[in-house]
């Protein structure tokens, strides 16, 4: 029950802020669309016509995921920095729920709200390009959940680092491109890549959405890898976060105003 209230409060805050800063929100969506048009145009005009359709489909899926990872992982970093300067991070840290639970609630609620936005963007992209992907919700949903869990792990790591390192802002800029790498890289490049956070999940989603695969066509190995990836990165992320929190509490870094 307490958990649910925590989740509700954070979802509501996320929603209110998006609504209150509607021009910002619209500008963000507009930027997304313009960049998409740019990518789409590039493929149309200079790409190889025989692979054009598949390329476009790849770009849609990758780009959507990139957007989602940025809005969740990058923004948790910026949020933590801002709240450290504002003093609200200390206020949150005094909650008997514990700051890591609050961060988890934040990650979940941000993802939830941005997922809705991303779905809208997905349809707009498909409509623009005329490339209709296979939206098999039953197959995609479980893969997506596991992929998101792995993503939350990375979110925790970024949140933790943002608490204790003041110069993290520059890194967050670079992080966007790291996230781009993780969302765009095809697994066919090397099997080792599957062990990176959420790469395997996005690869499976691509297989569903582009090649039309269903649950029955995945191997046990696929599931194992996906599950392992989710658990590993979530646990790692939480561990890093809790460690950073303790460092911050020893050195007095929860507020740097």
């Amino acid at each position: 029950m307490k958990w649910l209230n925590l989740l509700k409060a954070n979802t509501r805050k996320e929603y209110l802020e998006l609504k209150r800063y509607l021009p910002n929100t619209i500008a963000m969506l507009f930027t997304f669309y313009i960049v998409f048009l740019g990518l789409f145009g590039t493929i149309q005009f200079i790409g190889d016509p025989s692979t054009q359709d598949v390329n476009t489909q790849y770009v849609i899926v990758n780009y959507i995921f990139w957007f989602l990872t940025i809005t969740v992982i990058n923004s948790i970093g910026y949020e933590v920095i801002n709240e450290g300067m504002r003093g609200t991070l200390e206020q949150l840290s005094m909650s008997p729920m514990g700051i890591s639970r609050i961060m988890a609630a934040r990650l979940i609620s941000t993802t939830f709200i941005n997922l809705i936005i991303v779905i809208v963007l997905l349809y707009i992209s498909m409509l623009t390009s005329g490339q209709w992907l296979n939206i098999d919700v039953i197959t995609i949903a479980p893969i997506l959940v596991l992929t998101l869990i792995s993503m939350f792990g990375v979110g925790f790591i970024i949140a933790g680092i943002s608490i204790i390192l003041k110069q993290v802002q520059a890194f967050l800029q670079i992080l966007q491109f790291i996230l781009m790498g993780l969302t765009f890289v095809p697994l066919s490049l090397s099997p080792v890549i599957a062990y990176l956070p959420f790469v395997k999940g996005i690869d499976l989603v691509r297989e569903v959405m582009i090649d039309g695969l269903t649950w029955s066509q995945f191997t046990m190995g696929d599931f194992m890898l996906l599950g392992f990836n989710a658990i590993f990165y979530f646990a790692l992320g939480l561990g890093v976060f809790v460690y950073c929190e303790r460092v911050a509490m020893s050195k007095g870094l929860l507020a740097h105003y």
């Binding site: 029950m1 307490k2 958990w3 209230n5 925590l6 509700k8 409060a9 954070n10 509501r12 805050k13 209110l16 802020e17 209150r20 800063y21 504002r86 003093g87 609200t88 200390e90 206020q91 949150l92 840290s93 005094m94 909650s95 008997p96 729920m97 514990g98 609050i102 303790r246 509490m249 020893s250 050195k251 007095g252 929860l254 507020a255 105003y257």
Partner: protein, 327 residues
């Protein structure tokens, strides 16, 4: 009496940036707070007040020493202890500026695991009590500093925790708003039975609100006493007499013997005599001297000592002691 907070031999040092030196912000501080008590934590800037408060709120881990809240050791059961504590930390920026007054209250309640329904009535109460009702839909960044500070206090009240810590609640407020916040705190003290710890370097706050005060300086406790007793302690019997004429040489000699500390400003029409009495009976000795020449006494005023003077004396006395020890 029931001790709700026990702080025992607390130490905390910060590493100075780009050096191997440490600042001993809190250096062996112990005190206790009784349930329902209003305690003032007083000290000049840099004394270690904020550091102490943050350790009690579980925001800073002490280097050594223990803190218990309602018998719960904050180091061992941090979240359990936090159930009994809420705080307003220094500055008034610990609010969400993009949210309205009411949304802030609801959001902070949510982060303690409470639903909007759980706190609906409480929020209404607080908004009325804090005279923020007409501002409930206003964004926080549009509020004055005083209102932001009131809201921050309201957020802390919302949790209905046993202990509330207020770090410099009137810092940075203009005289009028400072007064308003103090009056509000008085109401809170009167209407809600909570244990409150207020840190301040503003004597008015402490003299107005607190029953007992722990004065700290340079990370150490200098005194721990009832405000009343402190006032009594320094209730130096200081008198200023306006005399309608001059004192004779004999009178002056006698005064010098009996009251070596006195100050005499001669004037043919109105001399001023300032005198400190160690005991109240000494006033008779004074009058004996004045009676010798039947010197006319136009007026007698007793000087009023305020907390600020006491505080300065204690803090200065402390540094003087230290200097004496080190030399």
């Amino acid at each position: 009496m029931d001790k709700i907070i026990e702080v025992n031999q607390l130490k905390k040092s910060y590493k100075k940036r780009r050096s191997k030196e440490y600042i001993h912000a809190v250096n062996d501080i112990s005190f206790t707070v009784n349930r329902g008590e209003i305690l003032g934590l007083l000290g000049p800037n840099g004394a270690g007040k904020t550091t102490t408060i943050k350790m009690i709120c579980g925001l800073l881990i002490a280097d050594s020493g223990t803190i218990t809240v309602n018998g719960i050791n904050i180091r061992e059961k941090r979240l359990g202890a936090l159930n009994h504590i809420s705080a307003v930390l220094e500055g008034n920026r610990n609010l969400y500026w993009r949210l309205t007054v009411k949304e802030n209250l609801e959001y902070f309640a949510g982060n303690r695991g409470l639903s909007r329904k759980d706190v609906r009535e409480r929020i209404e109460d607080l908004l009325v009590k804090f005279r923020l009702k007409d501002k409930e839909s206003e964004l926080v960044n549009r509020l004055s500093r005083g209102m932001q500070q009131k809201l921050a206090i309201a957020v802390a009240m919302l949790a209905e925790s046993d202990v509330i810590l207020l770090d410099e609640p009137t810092l940075g407020l203009d005289v009028e708003t400072g007064y308003e916040v103090r009056e509000l705190l008085k109401e809170i003290v009167r209407d809600y039975k909570r244990t409150i710890i207020i840190s301040s370097h503003d004597m008015d706050v402490v003299q107005d609100l607190c029953e007992r005060t722990v004065i700290i300086n340079k990370g150490k406790v200098v005194t721990d006493d009832k405000v009343e007793n402190l006032l009594k302690l320094f209730d130096v019997r200081a008198y200023t007499l306006n005399l309608g004429g001059l004192l004779s040489d004999e009178q002056q000699q006698l005064l010098l013997q009996k009251f070596p500390q006195h100050e005499y400003t001669p004037d043919t029409y109105e001399s001023i005599l300032q005198i400190n009495l160690a005991k109240s009976e000494e006033i008779y000795d004074l009058f004996d001297v004045l009676k010798l020449e039947t010197t006319p006494v136009e007026s007698i005023d007793r000087s009023i000592v305020n907390f600020e003077q006491i505080f300065m004396k204690i803090v200065k006395g402390d540094t003087a002691d230290e200097m004496a020890q080190s030399s």
